[in-house]
């Protein structure tokens, strides 16, 4: 059984516009040292999928820089490995496929070559807005054994209230995990099952989908290919029972990041002996906690120097917190510099932000205060 992977690095870009102005959703930094695409990529590599296409759209410079030739995921291979698939705009200007793709189906049409040539029997499609550690091999095995047309990895949301700012695919299944209903909207209450947008389909079927959609002018993978075919074809759910988080807004980015401070979440996401999450190696020095530093309940990357107080925070690589500063409930991205006697609460700083001495900034848990890349406060 040969499997290839296809990662859509842009599909949810408008979920979190604050952070995707200069990057794709796939290259949003997450969890001290990762980018969102690391989870999709690592899941594939750890499941033995070493032929991976990454579909890009625009703003993909930072993604290229991060992924490189795939070395850090062990995907720098002569056969297979990582293939970056930028859009085909210039080549087909003014033709049907000439526009920059607007949806998943058009994106698939644009990468027809990869699909045709990857040689795999099955393809795993994945987006970059989901954070989870999953054995995809089991999903494919389940897909093959069941004989389904498409298998979608699903997650039942816990009870409680949710504030999705982008529609997600909410679905219902029968007792055999066959999907009976599928609709895109923003669920407000928990307890519903949603699609993680990780799907398995045979290559032959995917090729047919692409050809057919081109002929019929289909626009939506979910509506035209999945939702319309629920009765005709078996579209199956693969319920995922580990920790799962989806980024649909800055607010959910904040909540999801803070979940990492829970020990069971970290165990589930990072502590699988066979399934580590890989990322680009930066070779930072170890983190130094200077005498007088107080750091509690925080997740911290290498390369930081901490002289002040840090509580309930996520600190990325190269962050500095100066003497007398108190940083609480914050997410400070790579190389954020916090001077002396600063007070920060519920703040998200993008990369290379400088907070000068004696500043006092605060957001609220329900509305974190975001400071854009390279800004000096």
């Amino acid at each position: 059984m040969t499997i290839a992977g296809l990662i859509f690095s842009n599909i949810h870009d408008n979920s979190i516009p604050e952070m995707t102005r200069r990057r794709t959703i796939g290259s949003i930094p997450y969890g001290c040292r990762y980018r969102l695409i690391d989870f999709a990529l690592s899941n594939m590599v750890n499941s033995g999928i070493t032929n991976v296409g990454i579909v890009t759209h625009y703003n993909y410079q930072s993604l290229l820089d991060h992924v490189g030739n795939g070395k850090d995921w062990d995907l720098a291979r002569r056969s297979g490995g990582i293939k970056l698939l930028p859009p085909y705009v210039a080549a087909y200007e003014n033709t049907a496929a000439g526009k920059l793709y607007e949806n998943r189906l058009e994106a698939l049409m644009g990468v027809g070559n990869f699909i045709n040539r990857c040689g795999a029997e099955y393809l795993v499609l994945s987006d970059c807005d989901s954070i989870l550690n999953i054995d995809l091999k089991k999903v494919v095995e389940d897909h093959v054994a069941s004989g389904a047309y498409v298998t979608i990895v699903t997650k039942k949301l816990d009870k409680g209230s949710y504030r999705f700012e982008q529609p997600v695919s909410v679905l219902k299944t029968d007792e055999n995990n066959r999907i009976t209903d599928l609709a895109d909207f923003c669920p407000e209450k928990g307890g519903v099952t949603i699609s993680t947008n990780i799907m398995v389909i045979s290559r032959a079927d995917l090729q047919a989908v692409v050809a057919d959609s081109l002929a019929r002018g289909h626009k939506s993978f979910h509506k035209d290919i999945l939702a319309k075919n629920l009765k005709k074809k078996v579209i199956r759910a693969y319920p995922f029972d580990g920790w799962y988080s989806v980024i649909s807004s800055l607010d959910s980015y904040y909540q999801s990041s803070m979940e990492l401070l829970k020990s069971d979440v970290r165990t589930d996401l990072f502590r699988h002996a066979e399934r580590r999450i890989y990322t680009k190696v930066r070779n930072s020095a170890p983190t130094r906690y200077v005498a007088g530093a107080i750091v509690q309940n925080s997740l911290i990357a290498d390369g930081c120097v901490i002289e002040g107080t840090v509580e309930n925070c996520i600190l990325f690589r190269g962050v500095r917190v100066g003497r007398g500063s108190v940083v609480k409930n914050c997410i400070l991205l790579q190389d954020t510099y916090v001077g002396a006697n600063v007070s920060l609460n519920c703040v998200i700083t993008d990369k290379n932000v400088v907070i000068k001495d004696d500043r006092n900034l605060s957001g609220h848990e329900s509305m974190p205060f975001f400071i854009d890349k390279n800004v000096t406060v």
Partner: protein, 394 residues
């Protein structure tokens, strides 16, 4: 395909490091951990890459398994090259017989064919025993400018220390006129750092002569350098200033780690223009728990700290449980200190586990010994490991 390399580096990594006792029982000295996420060999390797030297032969002999594994294809140091890159050179069997490397000079002599493949003008000889950052390109420029046959990097040491080193006497212009290994009454304080640049033909000539001398110990310091001096070859001393530490003893290894905790460490590992590269295992970020107290310490990815850590250097994946205390210590990768245990003034090697309530070492008192626990040792709950003890797996 075949291109010439101006300078090829030969890294002597076969040393047993016997004065590190338990820490080098299962591995060669160059693969001993340092500073949390590094191994000693990361320093010469990173220095090479940062100096633009992309062909490095690593001579291994003693317990090479871990070292081979660590270096692999050289990817972490960007030394996975199509032509050149890092190559591991163990002793091998030739047509006329097989020999272990008999000395530092003999190790290079046996690999002359490797060096000549790259047709280099210069050969840089390094050892895998020291922690330092050095631009070998500057040393090479100095070597060329002086028109030397051999350039030896030297460090100005104190007169008391001088008798531990190979000591060089040099004229104003750097020309060496005398070299003595570990002199009782040193007449100079210029110590050899074990870093040599040779003109390739000269190196080959003297190694060849050395190989035919049955009385020779086949050692650079003892035989080759004195022979070159005696023959009046042009030998110059290249003065080095900066942090340089021989971590050949337990005490010096402990000290070198503690040096990193200084307010402004002399050895700056965060310098982006001179990164020290190392191999990583994809560890998660470090987590400090709700009651954690970490101060004046250096921590690496994967650590989980729930207790107290003071004045210590921790490697990747170290766990310090609630109520445990780690002070003045060096903990290498994967060490676990269980609840209520106390570790003071100790070095704990890879994957050591200290059981609940156990005590290892004691306060650092003048001239007392560092307590050492070797790799994979499990100290049972409640046990007391006495000060200065040296535990290792049977």
């Amino acid at each position: 395909m075949f291109k010439k390399k101006e300078c090829v580096a030969m890294l002597l990594a076969g040393g047993q490091g016997s004065r590190l006792y338990a820490l080098t029982q299962k591995t060669a000295k160059p693969s001993v951990s340092y500073g949390g996420k590094y191994r000693i060999i990361d320093f010469p390797l990173s220095n090479c890459v940062n100096s633009g030297i992309d062909t490095v032969g690593v001579l291994t002999q003693y317990q090479p398994l871990l070292l081979n594994d660590y270096i692999g294809n050289g990817l972490p140091w960007d030394l996975d090259r199509t032509f050149g890159g890092v190559k591991i050179l163990p002793p091998y069997q030739g047509q006329s017989g097989a020999d272990w490397y008999k000395g530092t000079a003999n190790a290079i002599w046996q690999n002359m064919a490797f060096i000549n493949r790259y047709d280099p003008d210069y050969v840089l000889v390094l050892s895998g025993d020291h922690i330092y950052k050095m631009d070998y390109a500057k040393m090479l420029a100095f070597h060329k400018q002086k028109g030397a046959d051999c350039t030896i990097a030297v460090l100005n040491v104190s007169l008391e220390e001088a008798s531990r080193f190979g000591i060089m006497s040099a004229h104003e212009d750097g020309t060496i006129y005398k070299f003595t290994e570990k002199p009782k009454n040193p007449d100079s304080t210029l110590a050899s750092m074990g870093i040599y640049i040779f003109n390739r033909e000269k190196l080959e000539k003297y190694l060849e002569a050395d190989s035919r001398d049955p009385a020779s110990a086949n050692d650079f310091g003892k035989n080759v350098i004195p022979a070159m001096l005696a023959a009046k070859e042009k030998m110059v001393a290249y003065p080095f200033e900066g942090y340089w530490k021989d971590v050949g003893t337990i005490a010096s290894l402990w000290e070198a780690n503690m040096d990193l905790l200084a307010e402004k460490p002399e050895l700056n590992l965060s310098d982006e223009s001179w990164r020290i590269y190392s191999r990583h295992g994809g560890e998660a970020p470090q987590y400090l728990g709700k009651n954690a107290m970490v101060s004046n310490s250096s921590l690496t990815a994967g650590c989980g700290i729930y207790g107290i850590v003071r004045n210590s250097v921790l490697g990747p994946d170290v766990v310090v449980e609630e109520g445990a205390l780690v002070e003045d210590s060096v903990l290498m990768d994967g060490v676990t200190v269980r609840a209520g245990a106390t570790v003071r003034y100790s070095i704990l090697d890879s994957r050591v586990e200290i059981g609940e309530g156990a005590t290892v070492g004691t306060y650092r008192i003048n001239a007392s010994d560092v307590t050492v626990v070797g790799a994979d040792v499990k100290v049972p709950a409640g046990e007391k490991v006495p000060v200065g003890a040296m535990l290792s797996e049977a």
